[in-house]
């Protein structure tokens, strides 16, 4: 230790001129307010602002210079033998010089910063809006980074060795490796985990750079090129080990199956056997994963770059999924991918870039895709050729609601909520209905839905002929059956809200109501069917043969609405949630499922598929 201090003292004794320069510069902020043109500003504001800028600039600049010179200059001027001809270890030389550099930086910063800070403490805090320890930590951290990187680059470039080319190549390789480690975490929407991994990588890099000087001198000693060789070997081997460990960690984080989820959420399209299973993964902080899960086979397939089923859609035949893959959780734009989970299982990049606020739907056969962006630009694509078939700008677009579907492969119907963002009220406007002929490239305004409601729900019958519009006012809601193409009113009934109103296969409205004692009643076709007591109940799906499935958090009720009878009531308090119906999917069409199996999450960590008619529970997986 005494040798470390001897080296530090020696280096510090050499830096008198640096301390004098800092002291002279410390006067500058106090002189500057006297300069014409600067007098107009507040004296303390000028002193504190200039003082802080000079202190930070000088300290960071000096850190870089010291980093480049503290070892590199002695090596290139062949003076390192002075130390190595003394009984000094390489560690003592390195840490002595490092301590001297850090003390120099601290003293210079204090000399430059504090006089101006003390002259206007309040003004400084107002201008910089930073706690003093935080400011010191930021400047100190940045200075240490510059010092250590300066040392590494100084040693590499002063050696004039061809090895520099390899270093540059390895630097690029390390940057790519770091990106490859971080990116999958961002694609898993793991902001906290990414921050922690990035911080750990940075801390490991700083430790490597702190230790590399001692290793370099121990193995390179007084020889310039040997120093470079030793430094490069230590830095790149250590970094490679760190990156391999980090890479293995990322691989472990990313390699999740549905049973690795900590919280399971499910969303179930009304047709087909594939469902979306998503949630936060165990032991992986905030890493999220989305899977396509086949109820028939129990197979799952991971969709990357997407957190939940939002921004995804299944074709009506249940064979093709389109989803928006974002490069990271903050990205505003991504690319659309498609996958046919039942066949190839390979995700296909459609090379269609869309914003986060775009809506997209697949044609019923999954061959075509339509996208409408936040500005109303509607484009139809053919997926096989990845070609845009036609585009049109739909007027009066708001981001509050855009629904669309392929009536046929050549015809798109679009429902656009009229008011412009950010006005949320639809009272004065309602919904405009358009049809876009892809082949003729013509857009026709086919109808309007007028309402005085604040919020609006929309569902369209499977054949696309009738639409249910639920207008939610402050105190009441109304359900209207309208012509899905023109908006012409067909029938109207009081309603509770979108989740408590549905469009039945026969084209009529069904509504759910509860009384003060939490007793629910199903109203349909003039019948009032009591369905039992529950805190919450909503329409899950319609089965063939005039049967409705209703569910709450822990209960499932099957009603034969044709005959006005409750067929089954299952209640299991351990069931924490049932699958969400896709109320907010871009395609507003509802359908009748022949063999729907609602998914239920058990609090003991089991996902069950329910047979609503028999009450049978089939365990899908444990998590």
């Amino acid at each position: 230790m005494s040798h470390v201090l001897a080296i530090a003292r020696r280096d510090l004794a050499e830096r008198t001129s640096v301390f004098i320069a800092a002291a002279v510069l410390a006067v500058l902020p106090f002189v500057l307010p006297a300069v014409p043109g600067v007098r107009a500003f507040s004296y303390t504001d000028v002193v504190t602002t200039v003082g802080a800028i000079v202190a930070i600039g000088f300290t960071l600049g000096l850190a870089l210079v010291l980093g480049v010179t503290m070892i590199g200059r002695d090596l290139s001027e062949k003076r390192m033998s002075f130390y190595f001809s003394k009984p000094l270890s390489a560690s003592a030389i390195w840490f002595g010089k490092l301590i001297a550099a850090i003390v120099t930086l601290v003293v210079c910063f204090v000399v430059l910063f504090f006089p101006s800070y003390l002259a206007g403490t309040t003004s400084w805090q107002r201008s910089w809006n930073l706690e003093l320890p935080v400011a010191f930590a930021i400047v100190g951290g940045a200075a240490l980074v510059l010092l250590l990187f300066g040392h590494v680059f100084g040693t590499m470039f002063r050696s004039k060795s061809p090895l520099v080319a390899l270093d540059v190549a390895l630097m690029a390789g390390a940057a790519l490796a770091i990106a490859a480690i971080i990116r999958p975490l961002l694609e898993g929407f793991a902001g906290d985990l990414t921050t922690r991994v990035a911080f750990t990588l940075f801390a490991a890099l700083m430790l490597i750079l702190l230790a590399c000087g001692a290793w370099q001198l121990a193995h390179g000693r007084a020889d310039r090129r040997q120093n470079h060789y030793a430094l490069s070997r230590f830095v790149w081997v250590s970094l490679a080990i760190v990156l391999v460990v980090a890479g293995l960690f990322t691989a472990w984080v990313v390699n999740v199956s549905p049973s690795d989820l900590k919280t399971v959420n499910v969303s179930q399209p009304e047709e087909g056997s594939w469902s979306f299973v998503f949630g936060q993964a165990k032991h992986r902080m905030d890493y999220h994963a989305l899977f396509l899960y086949d109820l028939a086979s129990g197979k799952s397939m991971r969709l990357h770059g997407i957190r939940s089923w939002f921004s995804s859609g299944l074709s009506r035949d249940g064979r093709t999924v389109a989803y928006l893959q974002l490069p990271d959780y903050r990205a505003m734009e991504g690319e659309l991918y498609t996958v046919q989970p039942g066949t190839s299982g390979e995700s296909v990049d459609t090379q269609i870039a869309v914003s986060r606020y775009s809506e997209f739907v697949l044609s019923d056969d999954g061959a075509r895709l339509a996208v409408i962006d936040g500005n109303g630009l509607l484009t139809a694509y053919e997926l096989a050729s990845k070609k845009a078939l036609a585009s049109v700008r739909v007027p009066n677009t708001a981001r509050t609601m855009r629904r669309l579907f392929f009536v046929s492969p050549e015809l798109l119907r679009i429902y656009i909520q009229s008011p412009q963002f950010p006005t949320m009220k639809v009272a004065e406007h309602g919904v405009d209905i358009y049809e876009f002929d892809v082949r003729a490239r013509s857009l026709a305004h086919t109808g309007q839905l007028r309402t005085d409601a604040k919020h609006l729900g929309l569902a369209v019958s499977a054949d696309g002929k009738r639409a249910l519009m639920v207008a939610d006012r402050d105190s009441s809601a109304t359900a209207r059956i309208v012509d899905a193409r023109t908006g012409q009113l067909i029938a109207e009934a009081p309603a509770e809200g979108l989740m408590h109103t549905t469009l039945l296969a026969d084209g009529s409205i069904a509504t759910l109501k509860k009384d003060a004692s939490m007793q629910w009643t199903l109203n349909t076709g003039g019948k009032q069917i009591p369905v039992g007591k529950s805190t919450q109940l909503f329409f899950a799906r319609e089965l063939a043969g005039g049967r409705l499935v209703l569910n709450g958090a822990s209960n499932l009720v099957v009603v034969d609405y044709v005959h006005g009878a409750v067929l089954r009531t299952d209640f299991d308090s351990a069931m924490t949630s049932f699958s969400y119906p896709q109320w907010y999917a871009a395609d507003p069409r509802r359908s009748v499922a022949d063999a729907s199996q609602p998914l239920a999450v058990h609090q003991k960590g089991v996902l069950y598929a329910m047979q609503p008619l028999s009450g049978e529970k089939k365990e899908m997986f444990r998590f």
Partner: protein, 298 residues
């Protein structure tokens, strides 16, 4: 082998490469304790590379080096407590004052003799408040030597200590080394071009040429076996007289030969040969031997 028998330096098969260039080629030498050992060689012969490797400042490509009985690469830090070094280029930080240098070294060596250092500086006439960078080349060497000797070393290594010095400075420097030898019997290992200076103090010499040690022996033995023989005519059958010639060249109308295994009896037999009109033999200085061994080829 007890402590006294352990050589001060033993180098065995040292090779130093810089890329494809071989600076030191399987060099071996032994420096006995208490001796003054001079390593001679032309510029670029590989002397400094050998010294740096011997001091553990640089790693040899291959070979073994022991200094004072220890591996100089592995135990450099410990060894430097016992070794004084004067580098070829004055390597002390130029901003430091002589006094600061002395204080710095005093904090590193347990046996640093401040009084001896001060006394030498007085003899050299160097002010202690002078910055090292402001000293002349000779003064820098003198300060470096004073620092090295003040550590009371068992071995002092001088890498070309008189390079670029005038006659007075050279003499003063060698006087200090001789005085140290007289006082404490320190082992001296030096590389130099200054053959006349070293001839008076060296016990043993080695000549390095193109990275190889081409000659290593006691100086007196060396000087005894090398002779210059000049003949009035040529050619001369030196081989027949069992002389090994280091060099044969024309000398006026006659021939000059440098032989490396001279002995008087053999020479008398040669001179008595009827065909030889006249032959003179003369002793050679170290410089002449060096030129004959290392210089003539270039």
């Amino acid at each position: 082998m007890n402590h006294a028998e352990t050589p001060a330096i033993r180098i065995d098969g040292m090779t130093v490469r810089y890329g494809r260039r071989v600076a030191v080629d399987t060099a071996s030498l032994t420096v006995p304790r208490g001796s003054v050992y001079a390593l001679l060689g032309r510029n670029g012969a590989g002397k400094s590379s050998l010294v740096r490797c011997a001091l553990g400042q640089q790693r040899a490509t291959s070979g073994n080096t022991e200094v004072l009985g220890e591996d100089s690469w592995k135990h450099r830090t410990r060894l430097m407590e016992r070794i004084g070094v004067v580098a070829e280029d004055a390597d002390a930080p130029p901003e430091m004052r002589v006094q600061q240098l002395a204080d710095f070294c005093a904090s590193l060596y347990s046996r640093f003799d401040t009084k001896a250092f001060d006394a030498r500086l007085d003899r050299f006439g160097i002010a202690k408040q002078t910055r090292f960078g402001d000293l002349s080349k000779g003064q820098k060497k003198q300060v470096s030597l004073a620092l090295a000797l003040a550590t009371t070393p068992e071995l002092i290594v001088l890498d070309d200590p008189t390079l670029g010095l005038d006659v007075v400075a050279r003499k003063s420097l060698f006087d200090e080394v001789i005085a140290e030898l007289a006082d404490r019997g320190t082992t001296v290992f030096l590389t130099t071009h200054d053959l006349t200076g070293v001839e008076h103090i060296a016990d043993r010499v080695a000549i390095m040429n193109d990275g190889r040690i081409v000659l290593e022996e006691e100086l007196e033995t060396l000087k005894a076996r090398f002779r210059r023989i000049r003949f009035a005519a040529q050619p001369v059958a030196l081989d027949a007289a069992s002389f090994r010639t280091a060099l044969v060249r024309n000398w006026g109308a006659g021939t000059e030969a440098i032989v490396s295994n001279y002995d008087d009896l053999a020479f008398e037999r040669l001179r008595s040969n009827a065909t030889i009109q006249s032959a003179d033999v003369s002793a050679m200085s170290l410089e002449e031997i060096f030129i004959a061994v290392a210089g003539e080829k270039q």
